[in-house]
Each structure stands twice: as structure tokens, then as C-alpha cells.
Point group: C2
Amino acid sequence: MQGEEEGKAIRRDAAKNRLHILEVASVLFSQQGVEQVSMNQIAMEAQIGSGTLYRHFRDKSELCYALINDQIPFLFEDMDDFLAEHAKEPPNQKLEGVLKRFLRFRETKRNLLFGVEEIPSKKPMAFSHQNPLFDQMHALLMAIFQEVDPSEQATGTSEFKADLLMMALRRDAYEFQREIRGRSPDEILQQLCQTFMAQPLTTDEREP
Amino acid sequence: MQGEEEGKAIRRDAAKNRLHILEVASVLFSQQGVEQVSMNQIAMEAQIGSGTLYRHFRDKSELCYALINDQIPFLFEDMDDFLAEHAKEPPNQKLEGVLKRFLRFRETKRNLLFGVEEIPSKKPMAFSHQNPLFDQMHALLMAIFQEVDPSEQATGTSEFKADLLMMALRRDAYEFQREIRGRSPDEILQQLCQTFMAQPLTTDEREP
DNA sequence: TTGACAAGCGGAGAGTTCTCCGATTAAATC
DNA sequence: GATTTAATCGGAGAACTCTCCGCTTGTCAA
């Protein structure tokens, strides 16, 4: 489902198993937290062999990703709607709206995103290049930066800025600001906008 | 040696073991790479029980850190010398010099820093808050940002910028730029300076 | 020296992740 | 329905991290 081409029809028992795994994992994860649940436990609870589990999902990270996969289109729909409505606003408004929605998503899916980003994965990188959520978000940010300064295209500065901002949106960076620095989601949002766009917004022209 | 208070004298056999572990690990790591060497392998090669190994170093990450620990003072000496010599230069020069030295260190200690930053660790966070290398570097960067704009102190913006820059200096972010984006160390340095200080340096006033 | 005893040692073992491959079974073909 | 065949299943087992606890050994005070 993730990256592979589907050349053949999927066997019915396999499809059922896959669904069943997702259900069981979803329950266990929300009951005990992603970290506390082992792959073994999921296999046992689902009454399947561990080999079966691992054929469906290479590791826990991939399993977590599968569980948020459905919701990702909604996130970007939300963002695209916002961008369409505010097409004529200055880019810093756009950036703020987009980041706000991303951070809201992050708060909502906190548990599963932890699994995606922090559980060691066989794949090159979990929340990084080649992850659709990452790539799509990155493209969005880069477009905004290029709108601000099209001359950046040649130097790759927009790309670099987007890379940097993606780092700041990662779970560990965000949670560090929340928990160790004690900043609220809104403060983080403002700092990000300030840092990545020269002129900060004044408080009263923000959207509610 | 790391964080704990030393209330008691260390037993002689324990000290000898510790040294011996470091020697063996150092050889194995440079021969086979940090990732390929297991804690078991280190214990066997050093002819000690695994319990002994784990009492000295809680995990591989901590062991790697112990192996670079000695070199860290030299890095900061180097930076402090540079800052002393260039005390009157503009802050962007200082930032560039400091970052340059840090990235040089990163390239030199690539293997061990991989272990410190990427091997899962029991401690709160490996290359992050509470790690002396991280904290010292962070303090340095924050001081530079506050020199640029002292008014940032109240808003915590300097702190935030330093946090952000530390993220960009992490292994995965740096290696991503090097390998996937194909940027040279120097390009990365320039992009960082550009992004974090409004006015970029012109090419010919950089130090060689 | 000689206990006393806390610090240190070692390795068995619990709990994981993940692989491998013979046994099963869905589904296409005859 | 019977046959074929290839995808899927299951779980034993390899390799690993890390803990626990009975045994050993420095160290220090008498």
C-alpha cells in the first residue's frame, strides 16, 4: 500500500489480515501508547504469526504511518482551501495559516506521529525525504518562500529554508519547545513566522 | 564520568576496565563502523561480562560520547580563540567562524557522532538539551544572536533561533544537505549564515 | 594482617526485533 | 470438482539490548 506498485490482485485473506492488524494495533496504541506496544504483542492479540505481521508492515513505524495515512489528504485539503481563500494575501499570512494547520495536525496525531518519527525504521528516513507527508509539506513551504523572493530559485535558498523549517516541525523539535522551553503552540507559530519571514505579523491581524 | 557526582573513589579494577572498554570499542568502531558493532561484541572482545559493560556505559550512545568527550574542550578552545581574535568584527563573521569550526568537527568525528546522535539512548536526548556539547554550542550561538539584536532577549527569539540552528547542525539535517541535496560543506555554511543573519557575507570577505 | 562490606563482576535469562522456510490455502486453469 | 501454483501464513530461531542477582574482590578501619 505504501510505495509498492500493485501488479497483482491482493488475496482476500491477506487483505482481511491487513485490516485486522490495523484495527488491533489502533486499539492497543491508543490504550497503551505506541511505545509500550511491541510487535509481538500486536501479533498475539491479532492471533497471527509474527512473520505475517512483518510481511504487512516492515516495522512499527510503517504501521503507525499506515494508521494516519487516510487522514493526510484531509490535512492538505484543509491547507489548500485556506490557500485558495487567501490567494491574494501576503505570503506571511499564508505561511502562518499553513503552519497553524500542520501544528494542529501534529497535536491531534501526537501518539501515532511519535511512532512514525521516533521508532527506528528500516526505510531511509521516517519523517523525511520520501515520506509523502514530509514531501508534500515541503513542497508547499517552498512555494511560499519562492513567492516571497523568486530570485532565491537559482541559489536554492528557498529549498534550504523549507528544509530547515521542516526540521523545526519535527516531533522532537516541536515537543522540545513545548515541554522544555515551555512555549505554547501559538508562541511557537509566531516565532517560526518571525524567523522565516522578515516582518512578523502584528498580533491583531492574525486569524482566530 | 558523564553526569554523575563522584562521591567515592573509583576502584582500581573498575577504572582499568573502563579504560580497556574504551580502547577495545575505539578499535572496533573504527574498523567496522559504530553501527555494525554490537555491545555483545565489545564485551566479548574485551573479555568482560555484558553486565560489566553496561554498568560502565548505559548504552552504545553513551560509549560513543565518552570517546569524543576528551576532544570537546579543544573544539571550544578553537572557537574561543577565534572569537577573541575577532571580537570586534561584526556578528555574522563570528557566526560563520563558529559554524565552520563546528562543521569541521562534525566531519572529523562523523562516525562517533553518528553513534551519539542516532543510536537510541536511554537518556532523555542524545544530541540535545543536557548534552554538554549541545548546551555549550547553544550558549555560544545564543550569545551571538543577542549581540545582533539585544531586544530579542525579552521575546526569547535569540533562544529560539539558537534552538533552530542547533537542529540544522544535527547529523541527519547536515547529512541530508550533503548527500540528498548535494551541497558542499561550504555551501551549507553559507546558506546557514544567510538564513540566520539578514545580510549575507560577500564571497571575498570570507576567511580561507 | 585481617575482617567486613560495599562496589564491581559475570553471565543467565527475559523481552525485543526481524528472518527464514516448510506448510497452507486462495484463486486461476483445466 | 480437481489440479496447479504462487502468495500467504506461522512460528522456530538468530541476534540483539539490557537487567538481575549471587559471587568475587578491592578498600579501609581496626
